[in-house]
């Protein structure tokens, strides 16, 4: 490839073919087809593994065979094509799944799109299910994903910009924004950061995410990775930027605030008090899953005096024959929980159910009966786990569950003071954190957000005819 960088096509057809095939390292799936058009030899070059043969037949070969006109360009008028002149462009086009048409005595090549249409149908996202609202989800194709957004935002304001990253992966990164709502400085910064990616080999969304984040070392995700178009469209309206990486079924939203992670599109689709209730529930779940195990350990090990007497004896009864320190208990139970969760994720869904049964009955009750872990600790860890699963975005859910570990250690060594210090550190970090330059904890007009129509009815307007 490096040899042919600046080389141009010549008028010699055979020479051109030879150069192209060597340029493609004589790969075995590079196929040629020779047809005659206006008494001239025409060669079609394509990668057998990428293209759709039927499409070549219908859109290239049959128009050429009909001999409507003497020029190739006019014959191909129903198909989309581009003209290429350098060998480098041609090999890139081939690798992207285009068909190259070379003509005798012509130093230009035609690159025709004939990519095979093998892609997943648009289905509901498995990770972000809702009961109310749209059931479409992003697929592994950036242009399909952008079309899902365009359908929701039918405006010329909706702008897409493409970047290409990696010399080997050569993957497309699409930056979408609404021109009127987006902050120009933020947009500039995001594009700047993405441009730094262009000489890296990008395969995973995480790589893009890392490039976009202000603090990649923070445990908190600063870009929201969603599989739901309605969520992405909502954030676009609020001035955020949506980034797609081709071949990844998710959108990266930035800047984003912490409270967005606690919200599901379903909430916004509900009445205001339902919305408020579920938001509060998730807030509670967040607090519980971070602090509950630590709180329990601190009470158990240091501050039993704060317990009412009946609770005290209930607790004492449950921990009486357990040989381990509560810290050990919590660590063991958390590990068991993570193991069960991991096992059920990796297994096929039919077998995963078995894991659920084994986890619930065998480990859950047997571990208590054998006095390895106290009943209360099982309850505490179960509540913690369930609370963390309530968080709609998987990334944040895991983060929150893991955030409880440092607090557990602090609680076991320093009691409530440890928890207080730990929470202070978390708080300071969150307050300092920014997402694409915007404060992470920033949630303007949070109360008004529970009502869906932000415009208030003015007096005399919108009244019904009877009045």
């Amino acid at each position: 490839m490096v040899r042919t960088k600046s080389e141009f096509l010549t008028t010699d057809l055979n020479q051109n073919i030879l150069k192209i095939t060597t340029g493609m390292n004589n790969t075995a799936d590079l196929k040629q087809r020779r047809i005659t058009f206006s008494n001239k030899s025409v060669i079609l070059l394509y990668l057998d593994t990428l293209i759709d043969k039927e499409s070549i037949e219908i859109h290239i070969i049959s128009p050429l065979n009909k001999q409507i006109s003497d020029s190739v360009e006019e014959s191909l008028s129903t198909t989309q094509f581009t003209m290429l002149t350098t060998l480098k462009d041609i090999s890139i086009a081939l690798a992207k799944g285009n068909t190259i048409l070379l003509e005798e005595n012509n130093d230009k090549a035609y690159s025709i799109m004939a990519l095979s249409r093998e892609k997943r149908a648009i289905n509901e996202s498995l990770n972000e299910k809702v009961t109310l609202g749209a059931h479409d989800g992003f697929v592994e194709n950036a242009s399909s994903n952008i079309s899902l957004l365009r359908k929701r935002l039918g405006t010329p304001e909706f702008t897409v910009e493409y970047l290409h990253a990696g010399s080997l992966t050569n993957v497309e990164i699409a930056v979408c924004f609404l021109d009127s709502t987006v902050d120009k400085d933020t947009l500039h910064m995001i594009k700047d950061r993405l441009e730094r990616l262009t000489d890296q080999e990008v395969i995973l969304s995480r790589q893009v995410q890392e490039a976009l984040e202000d603090r990649p070392f923070s445990p908190f995700p600063q870009t929201l990775r969603t599989e739901r178009p309605d969520r992405a469209a909502g954030h676009l309206l609020n001035g955020s930027v949506v980034v797609f990486l081709d071949h990844e079924p998710s959108a990266l939203i930035t800047p984003v605030s912490f409270q967005s992670f606690l919200r599901s599109p379903e909430d916004l689709n509900s009445r205001w008090f339902v919305n408020l209730f579920y938001y509060s529930l998730r807030m509670l779940a967040f607090i519980l899953s971070v602090t509950l195990p630590a709180f329990y350990i601190a009470v158990n090990a240091y501050h039993a005096a704060i317990l009412p007497v009946s609770t005290f004896y209930t607790l004492k009864l449950s921990v009486l024959n357990v040989p381990f320190h509560p810290l050990m208990e919590a660590a063991m139970m958390q590990v068991v929980l993570e193991l069960l969760k991991e096992a059920s994720v990796r297994l096929p869904s039919a077998v995963a159910q078995t894991i659920g049964t084994v986890g619930a009955i065998v480990i859950g009750s047997a571990i208590v009966q054998t006095n390895f872990i106290s009943n209360t600790m099982v309850v505490v860890i179960a509540i913690t786990a369930v609370s963390s699963f309530v968080i709609p975005i998987g990334e944040m859910s895991t983060t929150i569950r893991l955030m409880s570990f440092p607090l557990i250690f602090l609680a076991a060594t320093f009691g409530f003071i440890g928890i207080a210090v730990g929470l202070m550190i978390y708080q300071t970090h969150l307050v300092k954190l920014t997402s694409s330059g915007r404060a992470y904890l920033d949630s303007p007009k949070i109360l008004r957000s529970f009502k869906n129509n932000s415009t208030h009815k003015k007096k005399g307007l919108g009244k019904n005819a009877h009045e």
């Binding site: 005290f312 009864l317 921990v319 320190h325 060594t413």
Partner: protein, 371 residues
């Protein structure tokens, strides 16, 4: 990054250095539920009861009380000995009841109980009572009251008595506030053992933070609480219809509304006079007659009850003055309204001789569900 490294280092080093020295696991704790103090040969005898839970599998459990006593010249001296009897660190943070033997109660409680308030461990919500007749520690040897462990049972007994307006609500904490307030004395419940059972037998009058030895009998207690304006959920009283104390001759009534007015009048000869007016609205709960209650009969009953209550309240006031126990808080009222006058009194010597006029007025507003 440097900060992170330092933080990690600290997190590792601190637990290693400190070794969780102040850790106090629930499993290890020996929790005393009941505490009693007696005087014996010029020494304090402390008795504590620790409740041990014995799990019998799948949520079933049994309990037993471990009772130990120690004698010494101070509470802390006895506690030191008591600690030696138990398998774990002893804590009073879940104590339910603190009992005083009669002799101990007659000492200055404030100075004796100093330990309880100085360290943060004891539970200030514990109920407090005086035991009459036997040594306070004897009550613990009953082990159980009904199905409750002894300390819990005693707590419930006193709690029920508070709800029935036999004694005012009180805990170690309220005791402490009374210790620090001159001009108001308080009442402690008196417990008596009758066979296998324990009952609240009256309200002991405290004078100058020590039990005076005088007590108000059980059936007058609600009236005393009404006079003190410190009654509970339910206030029930009985009066004899005519003067004869004979079988089934009592009218009973529940107080539904109370209006109390206390006025302290200055007199020139350095003795305040107190006017205490009590307006009660009552609802009949028992009437031994079989005839329908006419308006005229109700008026008559009102007169009978009023007369009876006036007589009894006079008796109660005389008793408090005899015990030199200012439970009505007259001293406090004077202190609040006229500090200079308060300064000039020696309240302990003044109180038994001041004139307290009580006037109870009763109105029957309801005859229950039947006429």
């Amino acid at each position: 990054m440097i900060y992170l490294k330092r933080l990690l280092l600290l997190l590792i080093v601190f637990p290693l250095l400190s070794g969780c020295w102040d850790q106090n696991l629930i499993v290890d704790q020996e929790v005393m539920n009941g505490i009693s103090f007696d005087l014996k040969d010029d020494k304090v005898k402390s008795t504590i009861v620790v409740l041990n839970i014995i799990p019998k599998g799948s949520g079933v459990f049994d309990f037993n009380n471990q009772i130990t006593s120690a004698t010494g010249h101070s509470l802390e001296e006895t506690t030191e000995e008591l600690r030696m009897y138990y398998t774990g660190p002893l804590t009073a943070s879940k104590s339910r009841i603190v009992l005083f033997g009669e002799d101990f109660a007659k000492k200055d409680l404030e100075s004796y109980l100093d330990l309880i308030y100085r360290v943060p461990d004891p539970y200030l919500g514990s109920k407090v009572a005086i035991v009459e007749g036997v040594e306070a520690s004897k009550l613990f040897s009953l082990e159980e009251i009904g199905t409750d462990p002894i300390a819990f049972g005693l707590y419930e007994i006193i709690d029920a008595a508070e709800k029935n307006s036999t004694i005012p609500k009180g805990t170690l904490n309220t005791l402490f506030t009374f210790f620090n307030e001159k001009g108001k004395d308080f009442i402690l419940p008196i417990l008596k053992q009758k066979g296998e059972n324990i009952m609240v037998s009256g309200a002991g009058l405290i004078s100058e933070n020590a039990y005076s030895g005088e007590s108000i009998p059980l059936n007058d207690c609600p009236l005393l609480l009404l006079l003190m304006d410190d009654y509970g959920h339910l206030v029930n009283l009985n009066s004899y219809i005519d003067k004869k104390k004979k079988l089934n001759n009592q009218v009973s009534y529940k107080i539904t509304k109370v209006k109390r007015k206390m006025k302290v009048n200055e007199t020139p000869h350095k003795k305040p006079e107190v006017d205490l007016k009590l307006n009660l609205e009552v609802s009949l709960t028992q009437y031994p007659g079989t005839e329908k209650l006419t308006t005229k009969r109700i008026k008559e009953l009102e007169k009978v009850i009023t007369k009876d209550l006036n007589k009894r309240s006079k008796k109660i006031i005389t008793a408090t003055q005899k015990a030199n126990s200012d439970v009505l808080g007259i001293g406090r009222t004077i202190k609040e309204t006229d500090p200079s006058a308060w300064q000039s009194y020696d309240w302990r010597t003044t109180y038994p001789h001041i004139e307290i006029k009580t006037a109870v007025d009763v109105k029957i507003v309801n005859t229950g569900t039947i006429k």
